[in-house]
């Protein structure tokens, strides 16, 4: 029986723990400093908006862990001794924790690092003032909630997926929201121009003050070290009571920087998710792949990646080594009321050897983009706004090298909108034929 220690109770650490338990009877301990139990970080926004309570964001009831013999621990790990195979705890106490521990050290046979991400801060003057926070952790949410009774206007810096969620959160509680986005169009380093513009429209339609092409210069403080205003690149001063820093995330590895672990931007791992240290693995947001699979990036801080890595690693440890193979890229999000799905390869800037076919509904709220190779006409990517497609069918198109025309004839099979929803596939077929 091996003694397996997992640092981080996010989706990657927990998925690894669950699958390890499923595959064997090793001793499994999960340590985290954030919350006692695993909760869904992706649902943080819904707690603030009143759609759910914290307890609803926990995918497993509290009895689940004991029942499955997975030990949970609330503590912060400050150091790792890779030779003696021991981790050190810094002894921090957590007021809101139901678990108590006086341990200062824990040993392991196998260590899994699943420490997630941290919000980016780019050295802006005033970034450490009160009422200036990222939106990543449960504690970030608590800070926002604390500031809320006095919050009239919030300023959000950065226009990624978390930024727009934070905007929606404040908006739902009738706060004024200003979004500073450095790029000339929302998330246009990921979305092609048409889709990016649809999101701009969505933001404006919701009366959120969207400032495109605008950078943060500094955050001004009042006498008590509270943020009171931001200054933009053009020198405009916008008064506010809260500043959300959502200009992306980076692997949470700062506390390991001085250790012997090989780290670049994230913890470097091979195809088997092994670090440079024996019996030490890393999964999820904190990872940087040394040789990412074709078409994938070295750091992919998203939910699904953490889950697949956790499952893969459990198999490697408990059964036989298998390589991390995430398959075709997919992701999804919701920009206020606009749903978004992507499958395969959809670059923001589609240039030769790729090209794309784009269709948009008359009301401007739905669109389909098919990215294809010019030479072969094979479809390699699908981008959807306001429409839902079946993942397995899209992957079938890629695997079986469907051409653009074949895919357009086959759209109905991928249909995943609810029953009775209007189907646009005939319209799209005609549209393609005329272009």
């Amino acid at each position: 029986m091996k003694n397996i220690l997992i640092i981080g109770n996010g989706v990657s650490g927990i998925t690894a723990a669950r699958h390890l338990r499923k595959l064997g009877d090793d001793k499994i301990t999960v340590i985290s400093k954030e919350t006692d139990h695993f909760f869904s970080r992706t649902a943080l926004m819904y707690i603030y908006m009143g759609h759910m309570k914290y307890e609803h964001t926990k995918p497993y009831e509290d009895w689940f862990w004991k029942k499955n013999n997975i030990s949970l621990m609330r503590a912060e790990v400050s150091d790792i001794d890779f030779d003696l195979k021991r981790v050190k705890l810094n002894g921090k106490k957590f007021k809101d924790s139901a678990f108590k521990t006086n341990l200062t050290e824990l040993s392991y046979d196998i260590l899994i690092l699943a420490t997630g991400s941290a919000s980016n801060k780019f050295g802006w003057p005033g970034q450490d003032l009160n009422q200036v926070h990222g939106m990543y952790s449960f504690q970030d949410l608590e800070q926002l909630e604390k500031a809320s009774p006095f919050l009239k206007r919030g300023v959000i810096v950065g226009g990624g997926l978390i930024g727009i969620e934070l905007a929606e959160m404040m908006h739902s509680r009738h706060k004024e929201v200003t979004m500073l986005v450095r790029e000339p169009s929302y998330w246009n380093n990921v979305l092609p121009p048409e889709e990016s513009e649809m999101v701009n429209q969505q933001i404006i339609m919701n009366h959120i003050d969207l400032r495109l092409g605008t950078e943060l210069k500094e955050i001004l403080s009042d006498d008590n070290n509270n943020a009171r205003a931001v200054v933009t690149g053009d020198g405009e001063e916008i008064s506010c009571q809260f500043v959300g820093l959502t200009a992306g995330v980076h692997p949470n590895v700062k506390w390991l920087k001085d250790s012997e672990l090989a780290i670049n931007r994230g913890i470097l791992v091979d195809e088997y998710l092994r670090t440079n240290k024996p019996d030490v693995y890393a999964i999820g947001d904190c990872v940087e792949l040394q040789n990412p699979p074709k078409g994938r990036r070295a750091i992919e801080p998203i939910w699904y990646v953490g889950r697949i890595m956790g499952e893969t690693l459990a198999h490697t440890i408990a059964r036989s080594p298998i390589k991390y193979n995430p398959g075709h890229w997919f992701n999804s999000a919701k920009f206020l009321d606009l749903e978004y799905q992507v499958y395969g390869n959809v670059p923001a800037n589609i240039v030769s050897p790729l090209s794309s076919y784009f269709w948009k509904s008359e009301d401007g709220l739905k669109s389909l983009r098919l990215v294809y190779e010019i030479a072969t006409n094979h479809v390699v990517g699908v981008n959807l706004m306001g429409l839902r497609f079946r993942q397995e069918i899209c992957e079938e198109w890629f695997d079986n090298h469907f051409t653009l025309e074949e895919v357009v004839k086959d759209l109905d099979r991928a249909h995943f909108d609810p029953e009775f929803y209007k189907k646009y596939y005939k319209e799209i077929e005609t549209h393609l034929a005329h272009n």
Partner: protein, 463 residues
């Protein structure tokens, strides 16, 4: 974990829109008229006041809903649901719960308190409804007529609210029009009119979508006799009633799942989906609740079947005694415990505390049968879109049947649960478009194939 820090202030702004205030005021006047009638304030008994009352209530609800949603773009807006006293088991929820429960107690056991008089002319609230009753069937109202009218209006006007709320979702719109139609036409207008036309004959049920065993008195001697003596309409009721249970129901459930009844046709479901919608998230999602659900609902089913068998035994043998059991007593106990206390008092009265489907989930014998059919031979499934689930929990939270939808979705597993009424709300609230309600022969095997990932044997794995 301690979450009190997350509710420092009541984050939901008070409802400030002038429109909503006016709407509330207007609806309250309608309600006040009902109250005045209940208190027998003389001049109120005039059909003008009756119609005004109904009209004012309707305007109140519909105007309030329009005002509530008109400035927000269409989409899922469950903002503040867990901050609001009414929808988060606060003071207002208790007030409403006690009020509705009290109403049911009066309705079932003390109808004279609302003015019903079997011997002479009605007074109070029941008298107030006489004009409508005279119009439909030429008889004065009864407490059941008052109840039926209010019930139908609730489904109708809160149905309109629901449609506005889900105006971006065609499944929800069509489904709601369906429950509104079946309630208005089949549960209310048609039976009342037919009753008027057959007033010389003994009573039998004329709501032709009310199916045994939900309609538990279908095989009671007085009801069988009523149908047998009821001429052509009576014979139709008898044959149709039997066909419904044993032929129509299995076929429709095979093709569409239990939803064809529970969230498209049934009146109990209709009220839950419309007036009960603001409380749907209060259903208990724990594994424990699921266990209780299975014990309770199948016990009620057994009770209903045994009770009916005994009653039929008495009907054919003429003996009120089977072994040591008095069949009439069994039937009375069923009527009291299940027919009245469970389905009415608890089922509706507890909406604001236990969610809108308490009866449908824990008590309804019809739902139990449909559920077994749905589970073992039906093409209906909720399919999951690949690996897209982000485990956020919206689906589970808003499932009125207390199904932990996320449990399946996050494993990429199709959802096949006896209790699912196919309301489609899980699919509507999912922010990643992961869930789809489907009827298809092709996908039933898929569900089984992916169903291997089970951690411990009894953890949500088996049903």
């Amino acid at each position: 974990m301690d979450t009190t820090s997350l509710s420092l202030a009541n984050p939901k702004p008070p409802f400030t829109s002038p429109g909503q205030k006016w709407a509330t005021a207007i609806g309250s006047i309608g309600l006040l008229l009902l109250l005045l009638a209940w208190l027998n304030i003389g001049p109120i008994f005039n059909s003008i006041y009756f119609w005004s009352s109904i009209l004012l209530l309707a305007i109140g609800v519909v105007w309030y809903s329009i005002d509530m949603y008109k400035n927000t773009p269409a989409g899922i807006k469950n903002n503040g649901v867990w901050f609001d006293s009414l929808t988060n088991k606060g003071l207002w929820a208790w007030v409403l719960g006690v009020f509705v429960t009290g109403f049911y107690v009066v309705l079932y056991w003390n109808p004279h308190l609302m003015g019903y008089n079997a011997e002479g002319s009605n007074t109070g609230l029941v008298h107030f409804f006489d004009p409508l009753s005279m119009l439909l069937k030429g008889q004065p109202a009864s407490q059941w007529f008052v109840y039926g009218t209010l019930y139908t209006f609730a489904i109708f006007f809160f149905g309109i609210k629901y449609i506005i709320k889900y105006r971006h979702n065609r499944y929800q719109i069509i489904r709601t029009i369906s429950v509104m139609f079946f309630q208005l036409a089949f549960a209310f207008l048609l039976p009342e009119i037919l009753e008027g036309l057959n007033s010389d004959k003994a009573y039998f049920g004329k709501d032709f979508k009310n199916i045994w065993p939900l309609n538990y008195y279908f095989y009671h001697d007085w009801h069988l006799n009523g149908m047998l003596d009821g001429g052509k309409l009576g014979m139709f009721a008898l044959v149709w009633g039997i066909l419904l249970t044993f032929v129509v129901t299995p076929i429709l459930t095979y093709f569409y799942g239990k939803r064809w009844y529970c969230s498209w046709v049934c009146g109990c479901g209709g009220l839950a989906e419309t007036a009960g919608d603001p409380f749907r998230h209060l259903s208990d999602k724990s594994l424990k609740a699921w266990k209780i659900e299975r014990y309770l609902i199948y016990s009620v089913l057994v009770f209903a079947v045994v009770m009916t068998a005994l009653v039929l035994y008495s009907f054919f043998t003429g003996s009120g005694q089977f072994l040591f059991i008095n069949t009439f007593q069994v039937r009375e106990w069923y009527g009291f415990l299940i027919g009245a206390a469970f389905s009415g008092v608890v089922g509706v009265g507890f909406y604001p505390l236990m969610g809108s489907r308490v009866w449908c989930r824990f008590g309804c014998p019809m739902a139990a049968i449909l559920g077994l059919q749905q589970k073992f031979f039906s093409r209906f499934r909720i399919t999951t879109n690949g690996g897209q689930c982000i485990s956020c929990g919206n689906c589970s939270t808003y499932c009125e049947m207390g199904i932990d939808v996320r449990w399946y979705a996050q494993r990429g597993q199709d959802i096949v649960r006896a209790s699912c009424v196919g309301c489609g709300v899980c699919s509507a609230v999912c922010p990643r478009g992961v869930l789809r309600l489907e009827n298809s022969g092709k996908i039933s095997d898929r569900a089984k194939a992916i169903r291997n990932e089970v951690i411990t044997a009894d953890v949500h794995s088996a049903e």
